[in-house]
């Protein structure tokens, strides 16, 4: 994570980008059905001009479908799509100022690299001299000068990726759509291209809408991310927000590892903190703003935020704490991952940096009794959908208050 420890308390806010930024893409209540399947389920979305925006989610959640509707390859069943304030819902792709980098690159096999790159400008009727200078410039931008006369089957996957990028960017679209553009590359090339893509995006200043199912990729590259699940997004925000303050169980689980314990909000009496009574009998504190208006919740804390203390050590007064027993330890070089049993039959995952401990004998050993502690501002609160659903059902069926 990019958030350093001393910063962690100060959680960045969405408002950090200028609030008046122009909207590059706007989806208004967009729905897409394929027969019975609802691929996109009422999405409202605003992508700001010049930002690197990612759609992140598991396979089949509707990322590609959303992107294809923006590109014009798919018509929405309902809703509205705007590009730079213009309604383009029913415009064909060739009338939209948007270009796409396809997952398999879709380079034209019968044309040279130069002709591939020049394709869009030729269709627009740009003068030959300008095409030539822009194509050369583009091939330089993607670091492929001298490849003009090759055919797509004479270049590597990584190079094809760059050609696809050049072929789209040369048209200077308002928005560039990328559907898992690095999906076919091996890990090393992928990492390299992530940096490259980010550099190019900064350089050309074009809005990128980027589809990926790789949370790390989305986190390192994006200005903002929409985390999608089953046809809609569950949370939208900057990577830090999504990681530090996930609002749903799905987001908490999809981005990184989370420890979640069920509980109920006891009191939000005054001050910065809410008191939360966990179902395992422990009472902890969490930022009040996160808990307000909720009753049944899941309290979350990231594994690297937890510290393990000896039973005789003093845990700072303000910290949340509970007793634990080490169940398993796996040494991973940079850090050690522990499984810690805590009251209520819960098991927490804890990452401890191997800063102070160097040899194996200094690690916590299975069976050791410890105290688990973390700062209250590192707690996050997620709505407990299962408890809410259960409660709803109970009231519907029996019309009686749900006993806890």
């Amino acid at each position: 994570m990019r958030v350093r420890a001393e910063e962690a308390g100060r959680i960045p806010h969405e408002g950090r980008l200028p609030a008046v930024a122009n909207v590059a893409v706007r989806l208004v209540d967009v729905v897409k059905k394929f027969g019975e399947t609802v691929a996109v389920d009422h999405i409202d979305l605003e992508v700001r001009d010049g930002e690197f925006f990612s759609l992140l989610g598991p396979s089949g959640c509707g990322k590609t479908t959303t992107l294809r509707m923006i590109g014009g390859f798919e018509e929405p069943t309902a809703g509205l799509i705007e590009l730079q304030g213009q309604d383009v819902t029913w415009l064909p792709p060739y009338q939209r100022n948007v270009n796409t980098v396809f997952q398999n690159y879709a380079l034209f096999p019968h044309l040279t690299i130069y002709e591939n790159v020049a394709f869009g400008l030729r269709r627009k009727g740009v003068k030959e001299a300008e095409i030539k200078s822009r194509a050369t410039e583009m091939l330089e931008l993607v670091e492929l000068p001298g490849f003009e006369n090759r055919k797509p089957n004479q270049i590597s996957g990584g190079q094809a990726q760059r050609v696809a990028l050049a072929r789209a960017l040369i048209n200077r679209p308002a928005v560039l759509l990328l559907d898992e553009p690095l999906g076919a590359l091996d890990l090393k090339l992928r990492k390299q291209m992530q940096v490259e893509l980010k550099r190019i995006q900064k350089e050309v200043g074009i809005t990128f809408v980027y589809v990926t199912h790789d949370q790390e990729e989305a986190m390192t590259m994006s200005d903002r991310i929409a985390v999608m699940n089953r046809g809609h997004y569950e949370q939208l925000g900057e990577p830090e927000m999504l990681y530090e303050r996930p609002q749903t169980r799905f987001v908490a689980g999809f981005l990184g590892v989370s420890n979640l314990i069920a509980g109920r909000v006891d009191a939000t009496a005054g001050g910065d903190w809410a008191t939360i009574a966990l179902d395992n009998g422990v009472t902890v504190r969490a930022p009040r703003a996160l808990a307000e208006g909720k009753t049944r919740i899941l309290l979350g804390v990231r594994p690297e935020k937890i510290r393990l203390y000896e039973t005789h050590e003093t845990v700072p007064e303000s910290h949340n704490r509970m007793p634990g027993t080490i169940r398993a330890a796996s040494y991973m070089g940079v850090s050690t991952q522990y499984q810690v049993d805590v009251p209520g039959n819960r098991r927490l995952t804890v990452f401890e940096q191997n800063v102070e401990r160097a040899t194996k004998s200094e690690l916590w050993a299975p069976g050791e009794v410890v105290v688990v502690g973390w700062q209250p501002q590192h707690s996050f609160v997620v709505r407990d959908e299962s408890a809410e659903a259960a409660a709803e059902e109970a009231t519907e069926v029996a019309a009686e208050p749900f006993g806890e």
Partner: protein
Amino acid sequence: MGGFIKRHRWIAPYALLAPGVLWLLVFYVYPGIQMFIASFWSGTLETGFTFSVSNWTNYPDALQGASAQFVRSILYAGAATLLTFLIAYPLAYTIAFKGGHYKALLLFLVVAPFFTSFLLRTISWKIILGDSGLFLAPLKTIGLVPSDFRLLAEPVAVVSGITYNFLPFMTLPIYVSLEKIDHRLVEAAKDLYAGPWRPGGAIAGLVIGGLLGGVLGYIFEYSIPVFAIAAAAAGAIIGWFFISQSFTRVTFPLSLPGVFAGSLLTFIPAIGDYVNAEFLGNPGTTMVGNVIQNKFLVQNDYPAASALSFILMAGILVAVAIYARALGTEGLTTGRG
């Protein structure tokens, strides 16, 4: 045994080729050589044939005697190839891209005529095109064509017959090449501003249609301007409404290998065909195949028939070589290159 094969891996490709090579040796090369020898014969079946190199004059003699049929063969086969292409391409395109669940059924329908004999199919055309047949009778009753108008025994009947008989040979290769085009390439083209072609397509359609119509009018021995104007109009309409830039820039170039294969599979057998001219034509529409057939089977003039066959073969070889060079098959057959 396995060890032997392992140590002599180079044998494998030859072993795989052997049956085909053997087949060709027995049924193609051997009769070919014999025919080549026969083309230097002189004499008749009664007196017996004698071989002499000085009989090379058989070639110019044969060519001279059948020059009209040669020209006609080229024109008819060319026209039929063009027409099969014009019919087969939209057909293959529709099946490949819009066929949906019916692809297999539609393909079956394309080859279904093959379940009846070639001869029967051609004779049925004779009935359809007859002076008071299925096609003309209604037109004549409503007075759309004069009562002495005929299709049968005209060049148009011969070309129609060939076109019909070889349609699957054109359709299937084009279908195969269209079918394997990645649909995302078409989407990519549209993404890169390839929209409808409109004026360009209409003008191209007008010019190409006019030219082809004129040529067909000439071959059918019918009014050239009427054909040219009608075809130009049709071409312009098709060009305006149906030809998009993604088609001309991506789909069509990528389907050229199929067009190439299909036109060879149609043109080569069509140029040697004699059945269609025999049943659907008149003495003035005979093709070189009719001459060869007549000389071999009726007149027993083996030397002239052999010489004609060789000229035909050599002509086709040269034509195919030029065609392949013009279309740049090396790049085409791989679809990339």
